[in-house]
Structure formats: structure tokens, C-alpha cells
Symmetry: C2
Subunit: 202 residues, 2 copies
């Protein structure tokens, strides 16, 4: 079965080619401003063929959504070497914010676009749950180490994510100009440091 095998590989390659084109345009112009014809032109195919390989624009979105989470999780896993859970928690937040700074459009795709979550309970949703679990486990470890006593770990996890996400969301949707600051990076980093100093007292 050498031929059907190659066929499958070619099909997979075409899927990847579309995804590569889509990623480029998506991350250049944002989700809404990217058209199927743009993607098709980028890879020098007709627009119609995309629908042979993907159900619709939403499925391409989901794929890149997943990609983004894998990239984020990869960057977070580097911190596994940090032994103290609270130190790892603090560093994870910094890494999270850095991810948003360096991958603004991935971040938009992952956390700020409406689209995807109608057909939830799916794989593209599963990876997000995995990322939350990462944070949740970290919080539990901190509590086992004596931190955050008498706090509900579920709500605490949600709150920590919210605070960090809030910083990134204001940045990604250009809502930082009401603050007097030199650079966005400075505002975000110092804002997060401010949050960390609160955490340290808890």
C-alpha cells in the first residue's frame, strides 16, 4: 500500500500548506480581516480547494487555536525545572505575558476571538482545558506548600488567570493608551510585578 500511503501524505501536506498560508495571513491581518481568497492566493490555489480540505473557516481557526496553545504550553514546560511551586507560578505568569507580547495574534486567536466555541467539547477546546489544568495543579502545589491558605483553589486559579489575561487583553486590544507609560512592555511587566507583590502577601 505504498501509493495510498503517499496519497495520504500528500493530502496531509496540502492541509499543512493551507494552514501555513492561513497562519501567515491570520497573524498578519487578524482573523476577521483574513479571507479565504487571501489564504488561497498566498499558496497560489483557488479558494474552492480549501473546502475540500477543511470544513470551513472555523476549522482552520481551530487548528491555529490549537497550535497557539501548544506553543504556549511548550514555553511553560521550560519552567518545569523550577522546583519551588510558587516561583514556578510567578514565572509562568511572566512567560504567559511574554507569550502575548511576542505572539499578539496567536493570543487574539486563543483568547479574544468569538468564533470557535460553539462546537465545544472538541479537541480544540480540550487543549485549552489542559492549559487551565496546568495552572490549577500549580495552584494546588502552592497550597500544599503552605501558600494561599483557606482559599478556594478553583476560584484562585480563575482569579490568577483573569489578572494575567487582563493585562494581555488590554494590550492585545490596544486599550493601554489611557495610561502614562513608556512602553507597553514596561506597563505590562510592572503591572504584573504589582500583582505578584500582592500574591506574595497572600
Amino acid at each position: 500500500m505504498g501509493i495510498t500511503e503517499r496519497k495520504q501524505k500528500e493530502k496531509q501536506e496540502m492541509r499543512q500548506r493551507i494552514l501555513d498560508g492561513a497562519r501567515k495571513i491570520f497573524l498578519q491581518n487578524g482573523y476577521e480581516q483574513t479571507s479565504m481568497r487571501n489564504i488561497a492566493a498566498e499558496i497560489s490555489y483557488s479558494a474552492g480547494v480549501i473546502y475540500f480540505h477543511f470544513k470551513d473557516k472555523g476549522e482552520i481557526f481551530q487548528e491555529l487555536h490549537k497550535e497557539g496553545f501548544n506553543l504556549l504550553l511548550k514555553q511553560l514546560r521550560v519552567l518545569d525545572s523550577v522546583i519551588d511551586p510558587f516561583e514556578r507560578l510567578k514565572a509562568s505568569g511572566r512567560a504567559f505575558i511574554q507569550f502575548a507580547q511576542e505572539n499578539k495574534d496567536y493570543y487574539n486567536l486563543m483568547f479574544l476571538v468569538e468564533e470557535p466555541l460553539k462546537n465545544s467539547e472538541e479537541s480544540g477546546f480540550q487543549i485549552a482545558k489542559e492549559a487551565i489544568k496546568y495552572l490549577h495543579d500549580l495552584v494546588l502545589e502552592c497550597q500544599q506548600a503552605g501558600r494561599f491558605k483557606d482559599m478556594d483553589p478553583e476560584y484562585l486559579t480563575f482569579m490568577i488567570l483573569s489578572a494575567t489575561h487582563g493585562i494581555c487583553a488590554l494590550f492585545c486590544k490596544d486599550r493601554t493608551m489611557s495610561f502614562e507609560h513608556k512602553t507597553n512592555k514596561e506597563l505590562m511587566d510592572n503591572g504584573y510585578a504589582c500583582f505578584v507583590s500582592l500574591l506574595e502577601k497572600g
Copy 2:
């Protein structure tokens, strides 16, 4: 000049009529899913006439954006009667979150849509700055009352807004389902309470 006066009033009324139709559809279907033809149909006019009264879709957006901030500021001003600044700060956050819960689509317009901020330095941007100033002054008052010693008020303001906004942003973009909770309201309220308990230690 009775006639030109009435004319002006009629023009203003037409502007308002368009705005009312736009608000209804915007807050029903969201910004991107609302078309000029939808708005026109809602008020039983042709689509073209909107462009006689508004530059483009973005200007309508800006108007509703401003409306949203006025509504928010009105709800916040109720808390002026709370004397203790820290209590007022905590209540402001609760009011902010409640506003997001009850006006999800206004909130989206105000904090989560790309559109408007290209032509910044304008009135639609000014009102946002006013809201930030409200929070900033509150933070300064807290510091004068002995709270948040040795913290930069600028970054602290940004952080508090971020944390609160993060809660609302996750809610408004339907990113709460990774958490095990009964209702969104419960998750948000308890998440915010969690943040407040941190603030109290600072």
C-alpha cells in the same frame, strides 16, 4: 431662525433614530455580525441614508462606545456615597463586573472590539480616559488613607483594572467553560472576592 433650528433638531432626531436601531442590532448580534442593511431595515430606511448622517460603521460604533462608558460611569457614580476609599474601590470592581454581566455586548464594544482606536485622541477615546482617571484617583485616595504603601499608583491602577477586566473578558468571550462552576456569575463574583482578599492584605 425657527426653521433651521427645527431642521437641526430633525437631523439630530434622525441621527438618534439610526443610533437606536444600531444599538438594538449591535447589542443583539454583536458588532461584526451587524450590517448597515440590518440597521437600515430596523428603522425602515434605505442603507444609503446612514452615510448621510454618519461617516461609516466605525462612527456609529464610536457613538455606542461612548454611550457604554457613560452608562458605566453613571453606575460607578452611585458609589460616591461610600466614604471609605478602599470600600469604594472594592465596590467599584463589583459594579464593574456587574456592568459586564448585565451589558455583555456594551462591554464587548467598549473593551474587546478592535475597530475604533485608530483615530484616537478623539472624544470617543476621551471618555475612556475619564473612566481610568476615576480608578486612578480612587487608588490615590486609598494610598493617602495608608493602603498600598510603596506601590506605584500607575501600575497598581493598571493591575487592578487588568484583574477586573480579565474576569469580564473571559466571560464575554466565553472562555469560562474550562472551569468547574455552577454559573458564570458565581465564578466571576467569587473570583473577584478572591482578588479582593488579596488586596486586603496589601
